[in-house]
């Protein structure tokens, strides 16, 4: 792996994103590039003048006034962005990553990811963002957009980093799951880790054969691997397994279905990210 993109926003997850990025970097030697995106101003500054009157040359005065307010705002946002990035870089240094590039960008997170992911092999993002509401377990608004838009695997950082020894692969035999298996077999990232392959669903010959093929591929790559097929609802079964087996990282395919379908029946991926307390590596 050559390079990874770490997206930070100044929330409590930023530290954890750095720690996860550092873990990947230490294992694979990948360069870390830290990104902070200053969101587009959806609503420009406002003067709160309800006098409803038009002075001579009202347009020009108003334009000057609004431009000045916007300038102050974006200066502030820039300063804050640099502080966040500096802090993140320091954190990475403490974690043993010597060189980290930082990038402060204007615009939309998804656009930034699409622009820069060509050079990157992995994207690290926090489970929740700045505006996160922990009580309701809402996920960060940008998370799903980034995962859907990105061509790269996305590592979703949990609230705090825990050393990773055991991983669980949620295996449904679909194309993104196969992609995940190939990735695990080939990448340095997973060397020496214990791997559990889990298929949730009926115990059919087809399921068993596919699962064993995958397990075989991982063993051939030198990973200690066990596998199981369990009946039930995917998100709850996986969450139970994560808890009982003390799994440190879940790998799974993401958002296989359209938004329309998700709107009606809900998304397994979103449920999984929400209910698991461990980091999750998503493949599309």
């Amino acid at each position: 792996m050559k390079k990874l993109m770490a997206l930070i926003d100044g929330s409590v997850y930023s530290r954890s994103v750095c720690d996860h990025a550092a873990w990947v970097s230490r294992r694979t030697g990948a360069e870390v590039e830290l990104f902070h995106v200053l969101g587009r101003r959806d609503v420009a500054s406002s003067t709160a003048d309800f006098s409803g009157s038009l002075d001579a040359d009202a347009r020009d005065t108003l334009l000057a006034e609004l431009a000045e307010l916007d300038e102050q705002k974006s200066r502030f946002a820039q300063r804050r962005g640099r502080l966040i990035l500096d802090e993140a870089r320091k954190r990475l240094e403490e974690d043993g990553v010597r060189e980290a590039a930082v990038k402060l960008r204007h615009g939309d997170v998804v656009e930034t990811v699409q622009e820069f992911e060509k050079d990157a092999d992995l994207i690290v993002i926090g489970k929740r963002g700045e505006a996160a509401d922990f009580a309701t377990l809402h996920l960060g608004s940008n998370l799903e957009r980034v995962v859907r838009a990105s061509q790269r695997p996305v590592l979703v950082a949990a609230r705090a980093f825990q050393p990773i020894g055991r991983i669980l692969v949620a295996f449904d035999g679909g194309p993104s799951a196969l992609k995940a298996i190939n990735y695990i077999a080939e990448s340095d990232l997973f060397k020496g880790l214990h791997c559990t392959l889990l298929t949730v669903g009926p115990e059919t010959d087809e399921n068993r054969r596919r699962l064993e093929d995958a397990a075989h591929q991982l063993r051939a790559a030198g990973l200690e691997t066990e596998h199981a097929i369990l009946p039930g609802q995917a998100d709850s079964v996986i969450a139970d397994k994560v808890a009982s087996d003390k799994i440190d990282l879940v790998v799974m395919g993401a958002y296989g279905h359209s938004r329309i379908r998700n709107l009606i029946i809900g998304s397994t991926t979103t449920e999984m990210i929400r209910s698991c307390k461990v980091p999750i590596l998503l493949f599309r």
Binding site: V43, G52, A67
Partner: protein, 496 residues
């Protein structure tokens, strides 16, 4: 794609709810006197302008391309329809409104919004200055041959409008002006003209009705010139206002969607008995100043306006005209670009002439479309003249004196074709002439004809002529149109 659309829709409508609603209220309060005043300009009942302002504001909020911009019945379109109302009556105005809307939808679908690029900054400045002058002139009938008390009232109104914001910016000062002047005139029982004297005010919600005009070619020919002018002026002011709001809010807008939106709003407005309108520069500035940014602000302005009119109709009727006149003077002062007067000294003379010509033609004809047309033509001519100055022909004679090389630099087109021909000395006796066009561009038929003429004239004098260094675009037009390289060249050229 669908997701982006949904989230954009959400931001445009509900990204700024509190400020949009408040700004909508401020704008609605300012729209009432304007809508009434513009109806009076057009010579129709106040309710025609009030219904129009409601329906245009609400529909453009939904269909327009520039969130945060205010559209309603406007002075720019009202002044165009004066003679139509006078000669043919209200029903023809409604029909003309519908047709103007249809033309605007067509313009939007044909993406004529891009044609705005030909309207230069000077023409736009001329447009707003002319508009301000027209609004002010429309107030003159209320200020001539009236009791002296009217002047006192108007002056008092202006004082309130301009001085109150220095004390507080929390309440709209035009509203206070209306309240105070109405209270004074009621208390002292002053004999002043009121809004009620100007015609019927709405007491119900607008209803759908077809304009009562014969559907034939004759009607069409009567309303077409008015509709065309209204469509053009409406789009011009709307697109110009859209760029102003773009600048103020540092965001972008969809100009072609705006054209269609204005058209849809006008078509619907004609069918509920309203007059044509467009975006309003002054109101949009007020909206932005009050914090309005989204579609909700224009929508709320329309809804509040109708609500207030239907509920408070009886009270609106007793507002003295003096209060309205004061507000319209404020609008006219606020619309006029005062900086442009100082710029007359410093800006290039050609752009000042364009600006002044636009103003003069509008004020003379009361038709903003004509003024803009004159302005655009003038700026085109000035531009062509300027470009034609960037043109030079130099030449060198070979050592033996038999071969001259002419080097042409710059743009060869209709305005510089004469200079091009004049640069050659046909009297000189030469064996060979080379015309080097590598630093020139051949634009049109006039320049190709000039080249033809030069080549043939040299040939007649017995010189051999080479054209070299034409760039690809020039070569294409010369190959297609030139005659000198085709048989019988001279005869055909002379036949031109």
């Amino acid at each position: 794609m669908t997701d982006d659309f949904a989230s954009r829709l959400k931001t445009e409508w509900f990204g700024n709810i509190r400020n949009d609603v408040l700004a909508g209220l401020v704008v609605a309060l300012a729209l009432i006197p304007e809508a009434i005043a513009f109806s009076i300009i057009a010579g129709v009942d106040p309710k025609v302008g009030l219904y129009a302002s409601f329906s245009i504001a609400v529909l453009v909020a939904i269909t327009g391309g520039r969130p945060g911009m205010i559209s309603a019945a406007t002075a720019a379109t009202a002044v165009l329809m004066v003679t139509l109302v006078k000669d043919h009556g209200l029903q023809y105005l409604l029909a003309a409104t519908v047709l103007a809307g249809v033309l605007q939808i067509g313009a939007g679908l044909l993406k004529l919004g891009y044609a705005m690029r030909f309207v230069s900054k000077s023409v736009m400045t001329g447009f707003v200055n002319a508009l301000a002058i027209l609004i002010f002139m429309a107030q003159l009938p209320e200020l001539t041959n009236v009791p002296w008390l009217t002047y006192v009232m108007v002056a008092g109104g202006l004082a309130i409008i301009y001085l109150l914001p220095r004390l507080t910016k929390a309440v709209p000062s035009p509203l206070i002006c209306i309240l105070v002047l109405t209270a004074i005139s009621l208390y002292f029982g002053l004999e002043l003209r009121t809004v009620g004297d100007m015609g019927e005010l709405p007491s119900t919600l607008p209803v759908f009705m077809l304009p009562d005009v014969p559907l034939n070619l004759e009607t069409f020919m009567i309303i077409l010139p008015y509709s065309a002018a209204v469509a053009v002026v409406g789009l011009l002011e709307s697109l110009m206002t859209a760029s102003i709001v773009d600048d103020l809010t540092d965001t972008r807008s969809d100009k072609n969607r705006e054209c269609v939106g204005q058209g849809v709003a006008n078509v619907a407005t004609g069918f509920i008995g309203g007059m044509a309108g467009c975006a309003m520069i002054g109101q949009s500035v007020i909206n932005v100043k009050s914090g309005g940014r989204g579609r909700l602000s224009c929508f709320c302005a329309g809804v509040f306006l109708l609500f207030m009119i239907v509920v408070l109709g009886d009270w609106v009727a007793i507002i003295p005209m003096a209060a309205l006149v004061a507000i319209m003077i404020m609008v006219s002062i606020g619309t006029f670009n005062w900086g442009s007067l100082a710029n007359l000294k410093t800006h290039p003379r050609s752009s000042s002439i364009v600006m002044l010509a636009t103003v003069i033609f509008v004020v003379a004809t009361h038709n903003l479309a004509i003024g803009v047309l004159v302005g655009v033509l003038l700026s085109g001519i000035f531009f062509a003249w300027k470009i034609s100055q960037i043109f030079r022909v130099t030449s060198t004679l070979s050592a033996d004196g038999t071969h001259r090389t002419y080097t042409v630099e710059g743009q060869v087109f209709f305005a510089s074709a004469d200079d091009f021909l004049a640069a050659f000395d046909f009297k000189e006796v030469l064996d060979k002439v080379t015309i080097d066009l590598s630093r020139a561009h051949i634009w049109d038929i006039s320049s190709v004809a000039a080249i033809d003429m030069a080549v043939l004239k040299f040939r007649r004098e017995g010189a051999k002529v080479d054209l070299i260094g034409m760039n690809e675009a020039s070569e294409t037009i010369v190959d297609r149109l030139a005659l000198h390289d085709k048989p019988g060249a001279l005869e055909r050229l002379m036949g031109h």
